[in-house]
C-alpha cells in the first residue's frame, strides 16, 4: 500500500519523500456501491458514439475518506471521489444538475467558465444563498458553448479540500481537430492540513510555507557579483523576498494529477501513431503549474474551452482555473511522463502516457528555482528610466487610487509592463518553446465588434507580510459592487501591483483579452496577470445580475481579493 515510486528526485528522508510523492494507491477510498462509478478520465473520441447526450445529473456533496500521504483524511467530494466525476455534456442541450448537500455545513457548486443565468452560477451570497445541509439545489441552464471547463465549490475552503471536477462540453458540430483519444488531465494541490489552518498560519506569518527564504549564504554568493548584490540589497531594502513565488508550497501540498499522487502515477494509454487530446485543467487552490511532456511537442488547440490557432510548444504555464487543450502524437512503444512542476519548483504532479499499463518513463528533475527579476517588481524598466525606444510600446505612468496608500498595500508599480510575450518567471530563456498569451489567438467566438465605451481599472494589491489581498487596496467586504450597464461593451484594465501572479476570473461573461496595442487576442474566462504587468480585456455586459470577479488563488480570494459585479 505504501509503495513509493522511484524517481529522479532524491529527497533526503523517506517520510519526506512519501509526503511529497504520496502513496501509490492513495486517493479516494470509495465505499463499495455507495457512490456512482469513479470518474472516467478517458473520454470517447470524437465521432464515436459517446453518450454525451446526458442532460440530467445527480450529484452529492459528501465527505469521503482519502489517504494521499499515509495519513487518513476526510475530503469534501462530489459523489465520493477526488476529483469529482467528469461531467460530459453536449452543446445546445439544457442540463439539469441536482446537487444534494450531505455535509454538515453549507456548500455550493460553481460551473467555471460556463455562460449561464446569474442564479445558476453558484456563488453563495452573490448568485444564491448556498445549499444548506440536507438540501438539494437544482441547477438548470442551456449550454451555448463547447470545450473544456470545470466545476468547484465556492463555499469556504471546500475548493481546497476536494470539491472540484472536470466539465467537458462536446461541440454540436464536429470538432475542429480529430483525436483518437481524449483525456482529461486535472491538476490539484492536496494538503493534509485543514485549509482553515493554512489560512490562519498565513495570516500570522505570510511566508510560513516558503522554504526558499534568502540565506546568509545566498548573500555571500551574490557578494562576488556587484549586480547581484545590488539586487539583493534592493529586495532587502524593500522588505520583499524574491523567492516569494507561491504562498502555499510543497511544504504542505501533495500535487495530484487526476486524483493520483506522483507515486500513484495516473496513466493514459495510447497506440503508436494516435492523436491524443489532453484537456489540462488547473483545479488547484493555490498552485500554478508548468506543464511539459519530455519527448513530445504539444499543439495547443484551445484555451479556457475556446479554440485557438494551433500553436506547437514544449511547455506551458497553467494558472489556477485555466484550461488548455493540447494534442500530442506519441509514436513508438515507449512511455512519456506528463510533468507539471509547481511555479516555485517545490514539487510536481506527474502522470504517464504509455502504450501498455505499467510502463513508465523517466521523471525529469525539477528545474532549479528562479528568483523574481527586477522587472517582476518594477514593470517596464525602460519606461522607468525614461529610455523609450523607438517602436516600443510606451508604458505611461499609471494612476494609483488613494486607497492603495494604506497598510494593506506593500508595493505599487508605476510603469507596469504590457507585453504578453513573457512566459513568466522561471520559464524565460529555459531553452524550451514555452507558450505565452501572445501565442493565443481565438478562432471562434467573434467578439462583440464594438469598441469598449469605457474603462474600469482595477489594481491587484496586497501585503505579503500581513497576508492581506485586495483590489485597489480595498477588501471585498469593504467595497461596493462594480457596476456594468446591461448591454454595454467595456474594458477591464488590470494592473498587478504585487510580485505574485493573480489569475483573475470574471464570472458570467467572457474576458476578451487584448494585445498591448488594443487588438483582440483571445477569449478567456480566467486571465493570469503576471507580477508588475498590466493587461486589459473587453467585456460585453450581456448577462444581467450579480456576479463575482476575483483572484482565483483561493487564499487571496478569501483574504478579500474579490469584487461583486452588478450588471444592470
Amino acid at each position: 500500500m505504501k509503495t513509493v515510486c522511484s524517481s529522479t528526485v532524491r529527497p533526503s528522508n523517506l517520510s519526506r519523500r512519501r509526503f511529497v510523492q504520496g502513496l501509490a494507491l492513495g486517493g479516494a477510498c470509495l465505499g463499495a456501491g455507495l457512490w456512482r462509478p469513479s470518474p472516467a478520465w478517458a473520454l470517447p473520441a470524437a465521432g464515436q458514439p459517446d453518450g454525451t447526450s446526458q442532460t440530467d445529473f445527480a450529484l452529492e456533496v459528501v465527505d469521503a475518506p482519502v489517504n494521499y500521504t499515509g495519513a487518513p483524511r476526510l475530503a469534501t467530494t462530489v459523489n465520493g471521489s477526488v476529483p469529482g466525476p467528469v461531467l460530459r455534456m453536449r452543446q445546445g442541450t439544457t442540463v439539469t444538475l441536482r446537487v444534494a448537500n450531505r455535509l454538515r455545513v453549507p456548500t455550493s457548486i460553481h460551473w467555471h467558465g460556463i455562460v449561464l443565468p446569474a442564479e445558476m452560477d453558484g456563488v453563495p451570497g452573490i448568485s444564491f444563498p448556498g445549499i444548506a445541509p440536507g438540501e438539494t439545489f437544482v441547477y438548470r441552464f442551456a449550454l451555448r458553448q463547447s470545450g473544456t471547463y470545470w466545476y468547484h465549490s465556492h463555499s469556504g475552503f471546500q475548493e481546497q479540500s476536494g470539491l472540484y471536477g472536470a466539465l467537458v462540453i462536446e461541440p454540436e458540430n464536429p470538432p475542429r481537430h480529430h483525436a483518437d483519444r481524449d483525456y482529461v488531465v486535472m491538476l490539484n494541490d492536496w494538503s493534509d492540513e485543514s485549509p482553515e489552518h493554512i489560512y490562519a498560519r498565513l495570516k500570522r506569518q505570510g511566508d510560513y510555507y516558503n522554504r526558499a527564504r534568502p540565506t546568509v549564504g545566498d548573500v555571500l554568493r551574490d557578494a562576488r557579483h556587484e549586480g547581484a548584490l545590488a539586487q539583493r540589497r534592493m529586495w532587502s531594502r524593500m522588505r520583499m523576498n524574491p523567492a516569494d513565488l507561491a504562498d502555499v508550497t510543497a511544504a504542505t501540498y501533495t500535487y495530484l494529477m487526476n486524483g493520483k499522487t506522483p507515486a500513484g502515477n495516473w496513466a493514459g494509454l495510447f497506440r503508436a501513431g494516435e492523436k491524443i487530446r489532453l484537456r489540462f485543467i488547473n483545479g488547484a487552490a493555490s498552485t500554478i503549474f508548468d506543464v511539459r511532456i519530455p519527448g513530445l511537442k504539444m499543439t495547443v488547440v484551445a484555451a479556457d474551452g475556446q479554440d485557438v490557432e494551433p500553436v506547437s510548444v514544449d511547455e506551458f504555464r497553467i494558472a489556477v482555473a485555466e484550461t488548455y487543450d493540447v494534442i500530442v502524437e506519441p509514436d513508438g512503444e515507449r512511455a512519456y511522463t506528463v510533468f507539471a512542476q509547481s511555479i516555485d519548483r517545490g514539487g510536481f504532479a506527474r502522470g504517464t502516457l504509455a502504450p501498455r499499463p505499467g510502463m513508465q518513463a523517466e521523471v525529469p528533475a525539477m528545474d532549479p528555482p528562479v528568483l523574481l527579476s527586477m522587472g517582476d517588481m518594477m514593470g517596464d524598466m525602460h519606461a522607468m528610466h525614461g529610455m523609450h525606444h523607438v517602436g516600443m510600446t510606451m508604458a505611461p505612468m499609471v494612476h494609483h487610487a488613494d486607497t492603495e496608500r494604506g497598510p494593506g498595500v506593500d508595493m505599487r508599480v508605476d510603469t507596469p509592463r504590457r507585453n504578453l510575450d513573457d512566459p513568466g518567471v522561471g520559464l524565460r530563456d529555459n531553452g524550451r518553446r514555452v507558450l505565452t498569451y501572445a501565442d493565443l489567438h481565438s478562432l471562434d467566438a467573434p467578439p462583440d465588434p464594438r469598441e469598449p465605451g469605457r474603462e474600469i481599472e482595477l489594481h491587484l494589491t496586497g501585503n505579503m507580510e500581513r497576508f492581506m489581498w485586495s483590489f485597489d487596496g480595498v477588501k471585498f467586504s469593504d467595497a461596493p459592487p462594480i457596476r456594468f450597464n446591461t448591454g454595454e461593451r467595456l474594458r477591464i484594465v488590470l494592473v498587478n501591483d504585487t510580485m505574485m501572479n493573480h489569475p483573475v476570473h470574471l464570472h458570467g461573461m467572457w474576458s476578451d483579452l487584448e494585445s498591448p496595442d488594443g487588438g483582440f487576442q483571445v477569449r478567456k474566462h480566467t486571465v493570469n496577470v503576471q507580477p508588475a504587468q498590466r493587461v486589459s480585456y473587453a467585456v460585453s455586459a450581456d448577462a444581467p445580475g450579480r456576479w463575482a470577479c476575483h483572484c482565483h488563488m483561493l487564499y487571496h480570494m478569501q483574504a478579500g481579493m474579490m469584487r461583486e459585479v452588478v450588471v444592470a
Partner: protein, 286 residues
Amino acid sequence: MAQQTATAESPSAASAPADEHPDMHHMAPTQELPIGHAAMPGMDHAMHEMSMPRAAAGMGDSVDEPMPAMPGMDMIDNRAWASLRVDELEAVHARGGDGQAWSVQGGYGGDLDKLWLRSEGSRRHGGIDDGQVELLWKHAVAPFQDSMLGLRQDIGKGAHRRWLAFGIEGLAPYGFEVEATVYAAASGRMAARLHVRQDWLLSQRWILQPDIELNLYGRDDARAHTGSGLTDTRAGLRLRYEIRREFAPYVGVAWTHRYGSAADYARQAGEPVMERQWLAGLMFWF
C-alpha cells in the same frame, strides 16, 4: 475614454431591480422544473428540494439588496484572529546567579486593529527581578508598521509604576524588526525603549538572531533603581533551530550593561554592572 477606479460608481448604472429584465436570457424558470424523483433513483426522497430564483424566494429583489448568505459562508476577509508569540522563554546562566527571562506578546484582532498584550522581564533568586506588562491597541498605520497605544505596568522589584505607552512596531528596511516605545508616567516621568532584532538565515532552519534593547529614562528614579539618560542595554545573539516554523529551541549569549546612576544603584545592591549571560530557551508561536 473615461477612466475610473473600480470603487467609483458609474452615473448611468441605474439601480434597476432585476425584475425589470424579464428577458434575462436563459434564466430557467424553476417552477417549470420537472422535480420528478423518479428521474433520480437512489436519492433521498425525504430531502427538501429547493431551487429558487432570487425574486421567487423573496430575497434580494433588487440588485442593491445584499444577498443573504448562510451562516458560515461569509467571506472571511474581515475575520479576527487570536495569536500568541513567545519570542524568548529562556534559562539564564550568569555569574551573578541563574534565573529565567521572557519576552511574550499576543492578542486578538483583524488585519488592522488588535488588542495586544506584551510582556517581558526576568526572574532571579526565585522572584521577579524586573518586568513589565503592557496592554495595547495595535493599529496598522503603514504597510510594515503598527502603532501601539496603551498602558504599561511595572512588576517585580522596585517601584510598581504605571505608564502610558505609545510606540511603533514593525519591519524596517533590510529586515530589522523594530519596537520603539515612549512612556509617560504621573508627575511627568518619561521613559523610552528601543528593541531591534534581525534574523540571519544560515539555512531555512538554522537562524541566528542578533538583538539589542536600550532603555532610557527622563529622570533619576531611586525606587526603581534607574538613572537618567541611557540606563541599561542588553545585547544578545541567539541561534535557533526551527523544528517547525512556529517551534524553535535556541541557545544564546547576552550582555547586559548598566550606565550612570543605574550602575551606581547596581553596585550598591551588590549586583553586576556588566554581565555576560548564557541562554537556553524556546521560541514558539501559534
